[in-house]
């Protein structure tokens, strides 16, 4: 068998097959990563501001959601869902009804969340998420500080 000379450079052209292999692997990596990607989202709230005293102010129907230290959520002192429920289905359904009624009556739907100071922040976010589902944007948040 004739041996090829070692120093002779033979140009064999651009190899497409290994390139496709590599591109496939990189693509697979990004495809898998795309499924696990966590996107940052936002829940908006407004601090109660100063109202103009010269004009007349309408009294709005304010709903109060309280969060207990154990994570139990109550709407106007009526408990909804269990403290373990993250999805809060009962609260979501009630809030959606409230929003529909407020829209029908053309009145603003304002919600104040009063969390216990030791309650976890994730519970507040669960409630804010339920409010986002119901489409209620006028939300204020406060903490019930122990005296």
């Amino acid at each position: 068998m004739k041996r090829l000379p070692v120093n002779d450079e033979i140009y064999i052209g651009f190899q497409i097959a290994p390139m496709i292999d590599v591109v496939f692997v990189i693509m697979l990596f990004f495809m898998v990563m795309a499924g696990a990607v966590r996107v940052e989202k936002e829940l908006n709230s407004q601090l109660p501001g100063t109202a103009e005293t010269s004009g007349s102010a309408d009294f709005v129907d304010e709903q109060i959601i309280t969060i207990s230290p154990e994570g139990e959520v109550s709407l106007n002192d009526e408990p909804f869902d269990s403290a373990k429920s993250r999805a809060l289905p009962q609260l979501k359904a009630t809030l959606m009804r409230l929003k529909q009624n407020a829209d029908a009556a053309k009145t603003p739907c304002t919600v104040t969340i009063i969390s216990d100071e030791t309650a976890k922040y994730s519970r507040t976010v669960d409630v804010l998420d339920a409010l986002a589902v119901a489409g209620i944007s006028s939300v204020t948040f406060t903490v019930n500080e122990e005296e």
Partner: protein, 151 residues
């Protein structure tokens, strides 16, 4: 292959268009993964809010990270990579940030300037309230809570 549509030559497998398609898909997946990687503090585990709206990155904002140390049961407020022990320490800094932002927008206050609070999911609500108080004292009433799309 038998039974072609009349043409005599069998079409060869074309590598070039396949590479075009592959690269396009690759770029697509690269952009959706890298562009949306959370630019948050690694020590903060954001609470999940799947129904929240996507974060608007076009607005001028001040970001306050609130870390929680479960071992020492202490919260640390981080603004501009500087740690603060009390929420009230943020007030002059947020005030300054608001003033700088309002100067950038043609004279007058920037109505869109907001504070984004990124709190750890295990954080007691009291510390979030302290960060909100600091924002309120600094004259910013627009507050957004940051959350992740999933756990």
């Amino acid at each position: 292959m038998a039974g072609g549509g009349g043409g005599g030559d069998e079409p060869e497998f074309q590598v070039a268009p396949m590479i075009d398609v592959l690269l396009t898909i690759l770029i697509f997946f690269m952009t959706i993964t890298s562009a949306q990687v959370l630019k948050t503090d690694r020590t903060i585990k954001l609470p999940a809010a799947p129904d929240a709206q996507k974060k608007d990155n076009m607005r001028s904002e001040a970001i306050v990270n609130v870390r929680w140390n479960p071992a020492s049961k202490k919260a640390v407020f981080v603004y501009d990579d500087v740690e603060h022990q009390h929420g009230s320490d943020l007030e002059p800094l947020l005030k300054k940030a608001r003033e700088v932002a309002s100067r950038k927008i043609a004279q007058g206050q920037n109505p869109n300037f907001r504070v984004v609070i990124r709190g750890d999911q295990d954080l007691p609500a009291l510390y979030i309230s302290q960060a909100m108080n600091a924002a309120g004292e600094a004259g910013i009433s627009d507050i957004s809570f940051s959350a992740a799309s999933k756990d």
